[in-house]
Subunit: 246 residues, 2 copies
DNA sequence: GTTGGTCTTTGATGTAGGTCAATTTGACGC
DNA sequence: GCGTCAAATTGACCTACATCAAAGACCAAC
């Protein structure tokens, strides 16, 4: 994987690596989960692995949705823009997460890598054909999309009704839960995104995110041992703050 | 259908009427859409019709998700609560819409009728069994949930980054689009929900919604001929305002 | 038609978080 | 180590919307 950072080049320009499923170590949490060995071979046949550096645009809002992706390594940010440039993050993706949901055959959001990232790419038309003959796969997809919808509704509650402090605490907590479920370290969180990415995810400005984090540091609830890493030192208080219990 | 208004009684106390699919005139936009006649019979066998008055709680957040519902007449509001009572609407449902998505077998939101309403009710376990043998149905469900997810992401953009005026205009526009697709009258919108419901949907207070509406009236963009009805008199400006183009 | 209750509108005032403007810190290349 | 550039932090000030309070409109029951 390239270590050099790339600025806003397009996924179209990227050569795909042809060593899919064998190399992929996250099958148990991705789309491929719950498929028989035979089914997996069929899915493998229509997928290809793509490796990209940091800051690469994966898809653009409104572009024709020809591909779907599964993140297999690294992380990705999803966002929507208003005509004047205001931005709303709709999600951060980590290994196992899915990307490329569309409406009217066009992507509903843009996606960009936050660090060196590996993706598993599927042609939409081929995947749809495969769905017709692999009911397990369609069921898996339905479960993944339903879960995303539930999380989206939690995010609506956050954006519409929580204070800055509650927003930041909820965000750290959700990152912690995700991390916990995969590596069992609830305390140490990786923060591959910048402050302004976080702000655009929470409906806040960079400055407010920064101020809120320093307040949490001063209160002894978190610490930031290095850039891109955050440690939760008082999980109970963080949890309470996230729900407005303070 | 009862015309008397009921206050917050439970769906559990309601007798179901046993005249499902024949009576239902919205099959072309509901879950049942795209099913063969035979498939429809199987679906009909596990569904029952429920009629309720205004202000009836249909489901409660965190309750075990034993049923799924399809709205066949009337309208419904969906919402989530914070411990201190702050509320976020996650959606308004109209005939054809679906309700009951869950995570960990519990409902992710509460639902309450906005007026006299008819619902088509499915047992979750029975529906899941049926999904295994009716791939069309699962595909239909996947499309419905995917569409909901796209709309949820639009709502995140609204909640996180739009001004009060843009929020209200976007809301009226989305109601108008929904109405248009079903009766072709883009101009006249039915507003079965109260101002504070709208506020909780848009992340605003009742007062701000009211003030914003009066401003739009004074600007000649909308008019309110009767309570519960709203007319769009300048669609172009409303559309521009919704995206911040003013 | 009158009454009681709820919902909506309007006005006056307050504040959380945004905006603008420096610093400070950190990452990377040489 | 040093210089450069971008990102993060901090401070001073401002504003969009919330909050508080009161008056008006609607609707159902009698």
């Amino acid at each position: 994987m390239r270590s050099r950072s790339q600025v806003a080049s397009s996924i179209a320009s990227l050569a795909s690596v042809n060593s899919p499923c064998e190399k992929c170590n996250i099958a148990e949490m991705s789309l491929c989960h719950a498929l028989s060995c035979d089914d997996l071979k069929q899915l493998s046949a229509i997928s290809s692995s793509v490796e990209i550096g940091k800051g690469v645009t994966i898809i653009n809002e409104q572009d024709p949705a020809n591909y779907l992706f599964n993140v297999t390594a690294g992380s990705v940010k999803l966002y929507k823009l208003l005509p004047d440039g205001r931005r709303q993050m709709t999600g951060f993706l980590f290994p196992g997460d899915f990307l490329g949901i569309a409406m009217n055959d066009c992507y509903a959001y843009s996606a960009e890598s936050l660090e060196d990232t590996r993706l598993c790419r599927f042609s939409r038309t081929k995947l749809e054909e495969l769905l017709k003959i692999l009911p397990h796969l369609e069921n898996r997809l339905l479960n993944m999309v339903s879960n995303e919808l539930v999380l989206a509704q939690d995010q609506m509650l956050l954006l519409g009704r929580k204070t800055a402090k509650e927003k930041v605490c909820s965000f750290l907590l959700s990152l912690s839960k995700r991390t916990q479920s995969k590596t069992d370290h609830a305390q140490n969180i990786s923060l591959p995104m910048g402050r302004s990415d976080i702000g655009d995810y929470l409906g806040l400005t960079t400055e407010t995110v920064s101020r809120t984090l320093t307040n949490l540091k001063k209160a002894g609830i978190i610490s930031i041992p290095a850039t891109g890493v955050l440690e939760i030192t008082n999980m109970q208080e963080l949890t309470d703050f996230a729900e407005g219990l303070d």
